[in-house]
Symmetry: C2
């Protein structure tokens, strides 16, 4: 089989309605909070998740215009292969963010430090575990010269808005 079909498991709600307001990465987020509305059939899968203070979210970059192989990322005026960036316009438009888990009430999760657009479809939740996810590295490629001063995205990858009739 050459393809995999995924189901949506919920919707991420955030204060960010457009790319220009959205932090580029969760480490650049400030105090804004959001929620996840998990579809009720998946609630048993949340058991014991409240014990973690950070979680990974995998989600669908559903507002990109077209997938690309080479992009000019938000943090650089030069082009790079899209696999060397965290840009959303990828062959498989899956986003990956580590966010703070603030609480769970039934099917609703409160989250913080998010870098995700409102109404984003959710694909998976995993616990964040420093022993599994934190590694020292010596080389971070083109990012080495960047001081990460730019905090917010823009609409370069997005579908144009639908014209009003």
């Amino acid at each position: 089989m050459n393809s995999l079909t995924l189901k949506l498991i919920g919707i991420i709600h955030s204060p960010f309605r457009q790319a220009a307001d959205t932090p580029i990465q969760s480490c650049m987020a400030k105090d804004e909070e959001g929620t996840i509305e998990l579809f009720p059939e998946f609630m048993p899968a949340l058991r014991d998740l409240e014990g973690f203070d950070r979680i990974w979210l995998l989600y669908w970059f559903d507002r990109i215009a077209i997938p690309r192989l080479v992009v000019k990322p938000f943090l650089d005026p030069n082009e790079h292969g899209v696999f060397a960036t965290r840009s959303p316009a990828r062959p498989n438009p899956i986003g990956m963010s580590s966010v703070r888990l603030l609480g769970i009430e039934g099917p609703r999760l409160r989250i913080g430090e998010l870098d995700i657009l409102d109404q984003t479809p959710l694909l998976d939740i995993k616990p964040y575990v420093p022993a599994f996810d934190c590694f020292k590295t010596e080389r971070i490629g083109w990012l080495e010269s960047k001081s990460l001063l730019r905090l917010h995205a823009d609409d370069r990858f997005e579908k144009p808005p639908t014209p009003r009739s």
Copy 2:
């Protein structure tokens, strides 16, 4: 739309032919190496990736028998919601591993510290960036009491082998 269809972008080759040989997480891997055979049409997306010494792989857990909402994970005799674990038998069977990037030659990437079964379908590659991916946490739920001594998986989530006729 309630579903998202992804295309395979390549195949991961590893020395691990069955779950029982496979490290549970890349931090438990030793010196084994593997390769990624990227489908040639995606090669432009690799530009500048060689500057990173660690990369994220998103891939398909294609050998699980059935998705589950509650599992007994490899590291615990107690059950937990699958979103509170990194177990493969999830509603959307997407695996996520940080591996060492050892080199790139054309469409072939050499990787190390992998925890992935041989012939695993690849969905995405992202650069590993400590500023984006490393966070201090205080609570890691049910994992807090685990000393992570178990290194290898088993076949509890896999489809049974096809009987020989």
